[in-house]
Subunit: 345 residues, 2 copies
């Protein structure tokens, strides 16, 4: 499927679910970039769970998103419980506008929902010349170091550095050693897991995937990952005015309730630091130093963060995006509602 | 030793090494806070290695530090190869001034040196009402994931969130699973180390501390910590105009050469986001949620990042700071030079 086709289908599906056309296009743009990067778990497949919540009234199809400049380089964004990627795009736009004027800008969003993968926001910012640090609060899945109850989210963090005329460097990561899906896969295959991945429900490390799935994900680097997850939540959840820690509603347990997720978008206009030739030269050199590192295994050269995703992007923009037939049908079904709902409005 | 006494002694030592009085006081303030936090490896003990390099001309005692506002909320700071904590304080002051005006501000420092521990900068920012993200480039000790040669530094990152009327939350961490000192201690005790700590010099995980010391530190979470270390270097080293990756000179191998380290100081004025009572209430609640987590081991309650250091700060401000006799004598010896050098200038 071509990028433009998928974008149209995803936007039509969101319009079918009640969104305004422009809002649907903006939100779909983030999800389609997720698919282009190969992160299909966070791509247009998410429209299904968004749709469930839109139908239940857990997410508002036509929110009144309000952006308030509280300082020349700080904006707060009230998402009014809109679809996450829509709130995300509005906040990103506001941060870009401030950074263009002041050099840097930070937008704090509240009243939001799952906002898709982070890499697309970093990518859009990078292509426009902005370095970025972006984070979100999330449903609780991690126990604090030494604790035996999930109290914080597996907060995702994305960072991007533009490379004029070349490829940006983009790191998009959550704070757990692995995602729950990886533990579920080990269970399916009947394998044990390393004891660094997760704990049982009393907070003790385990190698049994079933025990782990009843317990908690372990953060990277022990107390360091715990600390990082908590810092992301302090910026994205607490300072933004959104929910944080255990105040975040689980979208899967309570799909009909607003989550009040928060995000932050911190941008720097790199053009204020030097001409693009200066940045381009340094980024080329930076990448070359890492790429030329002798590999421990000759078959596996050293990569930069985001390199696999940017390869996927180039390939899929050229050859088309693979979308499962079942997902395509679901999106078409949502899209077909658009005609009906237009009659009733 | 009382805080004021140690501050005076450390400043006198730096004056003895050729610094101007005010510069010496500002730089000493950071190091003394390091000791107050209990991070003695990054406290006034550093004045010894700074002194060695000052004597060799590897660091300039009286640099011409220039702060340039390249945008309302971005400053670049040319450290002119001054003592790191001095360059750091000047950059922090500039970031605070910009954040007061614009809400946020970022200062990029280049031409700098080891700038002490990061937590003191986050602490000063927090006490003044600013949330902060601060990082530095560092000498290369980490191999990229899959690589068998050190190409990036164990870049330190510090984050702070103010808590009006209460304790800030401060996370100060480097990107390796453990510091080299911990591997050296295992060697001394004749113990093996977990294979997640380090690799041999071909980049293969090892449990032998001696092999590990000849090899590289492993970053937290594998490619995630590698990515984070690299992002810190992109902000602190590359965007700042300083050295990055293998361009950073090792201060221990080449003490007589400028390192051209870089730092970034990103600040947000939290008072623009809401009244201090609002922030205080949320920070109290945030801390209470984490502190009330049932502990896996009842004897080890859940802690917040920076909590141990802030306990040390309170205790040592009350009871005095423990400084080794040998270190005290060294500082006094440096300080005694002040009289002599004043004659000769």
């Amino acid at each position: 499927m071509r990028e433009e086709e998928l974008l149209k289908l995803a936007a039509d599906a969101l319009v079918g679910l009640g969104l305004r056309r422009q809002d649907a296009l903006d939100a779909a743009g983030i999800l389609v970039l997720g698919d282009l990067f190969g992160v299909h778990t966070h791509g247009v497949s998410r429209i299904e769970s968004y749709g469930e919540r839109l139908d239940l009234g857990g997410i508002k199809a036509r929110p009144d998103i309000r952006v308030e400049r509280v300082a020349p380089a700080i904006a707060t964004v009230e998402g009014d419980n809109g679809v996450g990627p829509l709130v995300g795009v509005r906040a990103l736009e506001s941060a870009m506008a401030m950074a263009r004027e002041s050099g840097t800008g930070i937008a704090f969003a509240r009243g939001s929902n799952h906002f898709g993968p982070i890499a697309p926001y970093n990518y859009i910012a990078s292509e426009a010349g902005f370095a970025s640090i972006i984070g979100s609060s999330a449903t609780t899945t991690i126990a604090p170091t030494g604790g035996s109850e999930a109290r914080l989210g597996n907060s995702p963090l994305g960072c991007g550095i533009p490379h004029p005329g070349g490829r940006p460097i983009i790191l998009d990561m959550a704070m757990s050693v692995v995602a729950r899906a990886k533990i579920r896969n080990a269970l399916k295959r009947g394998e044990s897991i390393p004891e660094t991945w997760a704990t049982d429900k009393e907070g003790r490390p385990t190698t049994d995937p079933k025990t782990a799935l009843d317990g908690f994900l372990l953060p990277i680097g022990g107390y360091k990952g715990y600390g990082l997850a908590l810092i992301v939540d302090l910026f994205a959840g607490l300072l933004s005015g959104a929910a944080y820690l255990t105040h975040v509603q689980s979208w899967s347990d309570e799909p009909g309730k607003p989550q009040n997720l928060g995000h932050f978008f911190f941008l720097i206009d790199t053009r204020k630091l030097g001409p693009s030739s200066w940045l381009s030269e340094r980024m080329n050199d930076f990448a070359a130093i890492l790429h030329s590192t002798p590999a421990a295994d000759a078959a596996k050269p050293v990569l930069l963060p985001g390199e696999i995703e940017l390869n996927n992007l180039e390939r899929q923009r050229r050859d088309g995006i693979e979308i499962e037939a079942g997902l395509r049908e679901k999106l078409e079904r949502f899209a077909s509602r658009a005609g009906e709902s237009l009659q009733s409005r």
